[in-house]
C-alpha cells in the first residue's frame, strides 16, 4: 500500500514539484482556487444532495407532530419531550434514553479501546516487521475477511461457536475446566463486544498502518543511535507520528458503533438497548418525528465526541 504519497499529492496539488512550464501555461486561464473548487465540487454536490439536504429534513421533521398514520406539519417538541420522558422525575434512576446512551457509550468505549489496542499492534506488525510490499498487501487483505459474509450468516455462525451447546462450551466442558456451559458467551455484552471488535478492528488497522508506513525510518534509527530503548522509541517517536491514523481509525469505529443496532441486536439477543434501536422501533411504528428527534440527538452526541477527539489532534495539520 503505497497510496500515502498519492494522497499527499492529491491533498496539496499546488505543491507538486517540477510541474513543467508547458502545463502551467495551459491552466493559466483558471485560477488555482477555481481548480480547487472544481476538484472538490463533485464530492461537495453529492454531499449536499445526499447528506446535508436530507439531514435538514430530518431536523425539520423532528419538530413535527404525528398521529397513527401521518406526519402533521405543525411545530411540536413532542418527539423530544417523549424521548426524555421521566429523565427528571425518575432521578436518581436513569430514564430510558439515559440508560440507552449509557449502554451505547459503554459498548462504544470497550470496542474502541480493544480495536485500538489490537489495531495498533496489527498495524505495527505490518508496517515494521513485514518487509515485503506483497506480504503487507496480502496480510491487510486478510483483515477484510469478516466482511465477506452477510450479517445474517455471521449471526447464524456465532450460535454453533458460542452457543450453549456450541464448540467453545462443549470444548471447555470436555476438558473439565467448567461443569456447566457458560451462558454469557452468547447474547450478552461480551458477545456484542466480540462481534463488533471482530468486524471493526480493520477500520483501525488501515489508517494506523497508513500513518506508520509514512514514518521516516531514519527517525527510528536516530532514536536508536541516541540510545533510546525500544519502548522509548515507541512512546516518543512512533505513537506521536501515528496519531493521525489513530484518530481517524477512532472516528471510524466510534461513529459506526454509536449508530449500530443490527449487530448489537443480533449478538445481544435483542435485549441490549442501543441508540439506533430506539430509532428503528420508532420508525417501524410510523412515528417518524420521534425517530427523527432521536436521530438528531444521536448525531449531536456523536458529533460532540468527534469534536473532542479532533481537539486532541489536529488531523489536517498532521496530515
Amino acid at each position: 500500500m503505497d497510496t500515502s504519497e498519492d494522497i499527499l499529492q492529491q491533498a496539496s496539488p499546488g505543491l507538486i514539484p517540477g510541474s513543467d512550464a508547458a502545463r502551467a501555461a495551459k491552466v493559466t486561464r483558471l485560477s488555482p482556487s477555481f481548480i480547487s473548487w472544481l476538484q472538490a465540487g463533485p464530492m461537495m454536490l453529492v454531499f449536499l444532495a445526499f447528506f446535508l439536504i436530507p439531514l435538514v429534513f430530518v431536523v425539520i421533521v423532528s419538530f413535527w407532530d404525528y398521529n397513527e398514520y401521518q406526519l402533521l406539519p405543525a411545530f411540536s417538541g413532542r418527539g423530544y419531550t417523549d424521548t426524555f420522558e421521566g429523565c427528571i422525575a425518575q432521578l436518581p434512576d436513569l430514564c430510558t434514553i439515559g440508560k440507552t446512551y449509557l449502554m451505547t457509550l459503554k459498548l462504544c468505549f470497550l470496542v474502541w479501546a480493544i480495536t485500538l489496542f489490537l489495531g495498533f499492534w496489527v498495524a505495527y506488525f505490518l508496517a515494521f516487521h513485514v518487509k515485503s510490499k506483497t506480504w503487507q498487501m496480502g496480510l491487510s487483505l486478510l483483515c477484510t475477511i469478516p466482511f465477506w459474509t452477510s450479517n445474517v450468516i455471521r449471526m447464524i455462525a456465532w450460535i454453533p461457536l458460542l452457543g450453549r451447546n456450541g464448540l467453545v462450551n462443549s470444548g471447555l466442558v470436555k476438558t473439565g475446566l467448567i461443569n456447566q456451559p457458560l451462558e454469557w458467551l452468547l447474547f450478552s455484552e461480551f458477545s456484542v463486544v466480540l462481534a463488533l471488535v471482530h468486524l471493526f478492528t480493520f477500520f483501525m488497522v488501515v489508517p494506523i498502518f497508513n500513518s506508520m508506513v509514512r514514518i521516516d525510518k531514519s527517525l527510528i534509527e536516530a532514536a536508536y543511535d541516541a540510545g533510546a530503548t525500544g519502548f522509548q522509541t515507541l512512546v516518543n517517536v512512533i505513537i506521536p507520528l501515528a496519531k493521525p491514523g489513530i484518530v481517524i481509525g477512532s472516528i471510524f469505529v466510534i461513529t459506526i458503533v454509536m449508530g449500530d443496532f443490527i449487530t448489537i441486536g443480533v449478538m445481544g439477543g435483542q435485549q441490549i438497548a442501543a441508540a439506533g434501536k430506539i430509532i428503528e422501533t420508532r420508525v417501524n411504528a410510523l412515528q417518524f418525528p420521534a425517530a427523527a428527534a432521536n436521530a438528531v440527538i444521536l448525531l449531536a452526541i456523536t458529533f460532540l465526541i468527534i469534536t473532542m477527539m479532533s481537539r486532541i489532534v489536529d488531523i489536517r495539520k498532521e496530515l
Binding site: Y69, R164, A273, I278, T281, N284
Partner: protein, 429 residues
C-alpha cells in the same frame, strides 16, 4: 405477524426497495401508459406487496398459467409493508397485509376497499372472518383487532369501519392462523399446558418472545393473565396502566435472566429453537415445522388459555383503476378458487375459502391438516419435502379446535405510541 426470510434493518435492500419505489412511482403515475391501441397487447402485470407468507413461486406460476396475470412480488416485513403503503402508495397494485394494520392504513386513504359483489366466493368465506365463529359454530375470542370488527367500510371512500356487513370490504381474507408457544419436548420432558410456563423460573435463560412490540405485548399479556396476575378487558387495547403492569412483569423477568434472546424473524426463531438456546418461545407454525424437518423434536403446543391469532387479506392501492382494477379482481378471485388455498393449507396456515381448497387437496391431506386426524400417508410440503410420517397428528388438532380456541388477535392499540415507548424502556432495562 411478520414472516420474512431476512431482515437486516436499514440496508442495501432497503435502499434498493426505495429506488424500486421511485421507479414504481413513475410507472404508477401514468407516465408509461400513453400508448393508444396497444391495450390488448399490454401484459397483465400486478405488483404484489406483502410479507413472505402468501408469496410462493408456485402460486405466481399457477396464476400466470390460469389467468395470464403476471405477479411481481415485493416482499417486506409487516412493518415495512405498512411503511411502504404510507409513504409510497403508488409503488404497488395489490396489497396483502394484516387486518391489524388497517387501523393505520384505512385513515391514510392510501388503499381502496374491494367490492364484495365482485368476489365470486365471498359468500363462501369462512365465518371466522364474517361472524367471528367457526363453521362448527364455536364462538371465537374477539380481543384485539379481530377481522370481523374491521372487515367492512361504511362507504366506498369511507374511513370508518361499518358495524354490519356492507359491500365495501377492507381486505378480502386470504390466510390466517392461530399462534401459540413452541416447545422442545425432548428438553422439557414434562407436559406444558399454560402460557404462564413462559415465565416459569424452571426455564430461566431458555425462554424467548417476539421483539415486535405490538405482537410481543400480546404474548406477554397472555402470560400475565395465565399466571393470574391480572385480567384484561381487552388484551389488544390496553389502558396505560395495563401497559405499565404488563411491562413491569416482563421487565422483572428480563432482569432475572428469564429470556435467552428475543427474535424478530422467522429464521432467528428456528435457529434459537433448533440449537437448544431456547426450549420455550412464542413461535409460528411453519417455523415449528422447519425445526421438525431438521429432525429435532418441536411441538406447537396448544395451551388452555387459547391461541393468539392473525389474519391477512387483499386490497388494492388507491392508484389502481380501470383495466388494472379488473385484473386485481380476477387475481383475487383466482386466489380464492382453491389452488392457493390448498397450497397455504399444506404449509400449516388456513385458507379463507375452505370448500375450494378442499377440492384441491387429497382426502388424506385434508384429514391431517384440517380434521386433526392421524396421517394415513406421509405428509409432504408443497415443495414435495417430507413434513410428517404417516401416523402423525397435527399439534392442536382440527381446524375447529384450533380456530375455536383463539383468545385474541394481533392488534394496534389506541395507546400504541405509549406502548412503543414502554417497549423501548423494557429493552433498555
Amino acid at each position: 405477524m411478520t414472516e420474512t426470510t431476512k431482515k437486516t434493518g436499514v440496508s442495501r435492500r432497503t435502499l434498493l426497495k426505495s429506488t424500486a419505489g421511485l421507479a414504481g412511482l413513475a410507472a404508477g403515475s401514468g407516465a408509461i401508459t400513453g400508448f393508444p391501441y396497444v391495450m390488448s397487447a399490454e401484459p397483465k402485470v400486478l405488483r404484489y406487496l406483502g410479507t413472505a407468507v402468501n408469496e410462493g413461486d408456485d402460486i405466481s406460476k399457477q396464476c400466470l398459467k390460469d389467468t395470464g396475470i403476471k405477479i411481481e412480488y415485493i416482499t417486506a416485513t409487516t412493518d415495512d409493508v405498512t411503511k411502504r403503503v404510507m409513504t409510497q402508495p403508488n409503488s404497488f397494485d395489490v396489497l396483502d397485509t394484516e387486518y391489524f394494520s388497517l387501523k393505520k392504513l384505512v385513515p391514510s386513504g392510501n388503499i381502496l376497499a374491494l367490492d364484495a359483489r365482485k368476489i365470486k366466493e365471498f359468500d363462501n368465506i369462512t365465518p371466522v372472518f364474517t361472524k367471528g365463529q367457526t363453521p362448527g359454530g364455536k364462538k371465537i375470542g374477539g380481543q384485539g383487532t379481530a377481522p370481523w370488527k374491521v372487515l367492512y367500510l361504511e362507504g366506498k371512500d369511507s374511513k370508518k369501519f361499518a358495524t354490519s356487513a356492507t359491500e365495501f370490504v377492507t381486505l378480502i381474507p386470504t390466510v390466517y392462523n392461530a399462534d401459540t408457544l413452541g416447545i422442545r419436548p425432548d428438553l422439557i420432558k414434562r407436559p406444558i399446558g399454560s402460557w404462564s410456563e413462559l415465565l416459569n423460573p424452571e426455564f430461566k435463560g431458555k425462554a424467548s418472545i417476539l421483539n415486535i412490540p405490538s405482537i410481543g405485548i400480546m404474548d406477554a399479556a397472555m402470560v400475565v393473565e395465565a399466571s393470574g396476575k391480572y385480567k384484561y378487558a381487552d388484551k389488544g387495547n390496553m389502558t396505560k396502566e395495563e401497559i405499565d403492569l404488563t411491562m413491569k412483569v416482563m421487565t422483572e423477568a428480563k432482569k432475572a435472566g428469564q429470556f435467552r434472546a428475543f427474535w424478530k424473524d422467522f429464521n432467528e426463531s428456528v435457529n434459537l429453537m433448533a440449537s437448544g438456546e431456547t426450549v420455550i418461545q412464542s413461535m409460528w407454525s411453519p417455523a415449528v415445522t422447519k425445526v421438525r424437518s431438521m429432525g429435532i423434536a418441536c411441538t406447537f403446543q396448544p395451551l388452555k388459555e387459547g391461541y393468539r391469532s392473525w389474519a391477512s387479506g387483499f386490497c388494492v392501492s388507491k392508484g389502481v383503476s380501470g383495466a388494472k382494477l379488473e385484473w386485481a379482481y380476477e387475481f383475487v378471485n383466482w386466489f380464492l378458487s382453491g389452488y392457493a388455498g390448498a397450497y397455504l393449507n399444506r404449509q400449516g396456515y388456513y385458507s379463507a375459502v375452505l370448500s375450494t381448497a378442499k377440492a384441491h387437496m387429497e382426502p388424506y391431506e385434508w384429514a391431517y391438516w384440517m380434521e386433526g386426524k392421524a396421517a394415513e400417508k406421509d405428509i409432504k410440503a408443497p415443495d414435495g419435502s417430507l413434513l410428517e410420517k404417516a401416523g402423525a397428528v397435527r399439534d392442536g388438532g382440527s381446524y375447529e379446535d384450533r380456530m375455536g380456541g383463539v383468545a385474541c388477535w394481533n392488534a394496534v392499540m389506541d395507546e400504541n405510541d405509549y406502548m412503543v415507548r414502554k417497549w423501548n424502556e423494557f429493552i433498555a432495562a
